[in-house]
Amino acid sequence: MPQPHDVLFRALADPTRRAIFERLCRDGDQTVAALTARAEVSQPAISKHLAVLKQAGLVRDRHEGRQTHYSARPGALAPLVDWTSQMAGFWQSRFDDLEDLLKRMDQ
């Protein structure tokens, strides 16, 4: 699979990060404090998760005074919802298995 998918999958594989991202999609802009208040993990943990989401391009931060606001960038998911790139990855891995099978088959 292409690398951009790996980064996205890794970022979204964690349920806490997924919950943060979903909340930002649903409720819009949030501060770290607001996100922490509704979560069951500490603020440093939330900040760490946000950093991973940011690296994957899924969230954007904006500094306002002493607060940092985060917002979702759902467009970062485009490579995943685009079925052509999904299917290309699917067929590449199927062809890998096909080649393995052909090696095992007799002429």
Partner: protein, 143 residues
């Protein structure tokens, strides 16, 4: 209902394989071999034969054989029905085998027809949530 805005897109994957077309043809058309590299199935090499491909993730594809030219070309429909139209897929998969000096050039072309692309890409909040709910399935599918 008559708002049938359809968009066609295709995926092409090609690979040089160091085996003769006849051998690859067997892997493409014998159910027990298809199961080893693609999915469990009840394929039969007959035009008009309807069959299912069953993925490990629980998804079932509805297929119908459209064309067969032994050792050369195989085409079938590849349709996925989902209660959410954004995940529906109607497509046709065509395998073409071309002999080369070292084996075969295997080409897979999948042409997809998807109703109202807007639904999938509109970024509607409900859509994203649905997508996230399906992420695990996607992960299982693409490894």
């Amino acid at each position: 209902m008559n708002e049938m805005r359809t968009e066609t897109r295709s995926v092409v994957v090609e690979r040089e394989i160091p085996h003769p077309p006849e051998k690859i043809w067997r892997a493409l058309t014998q159910p027990h071999l298809i199961a080893e590299w693609l999915m469990k199935n009840d394929f039969e090499p007959a035009v008009g034969h309807r069959f299912n491909l069953r993925g490990d993730w629980g998804g079932v594809l509805d297929c119908e054989v459209l064309a067969i030219e032994p050792n050369n070309m195989l085409s079938y429909t590849w349709n996925f029905t989902h209660e959410d139209a954004a995940y529906e897929l109607k497509s046709v998969v065509t395998f073409t085998l071309t002999p080369t000096s070292t084996g075969t050039l295997l080409r897979m072309e999948q042409v997809g027809f998807r109703p109202d692309q807007k639904q999938a890409h509109g970024g509607a909040k409900a859509g994203w949530q649905g997508f996230l709910a399906n992420l695990e399935q996607v992960l299982a599918r693409i490894d």
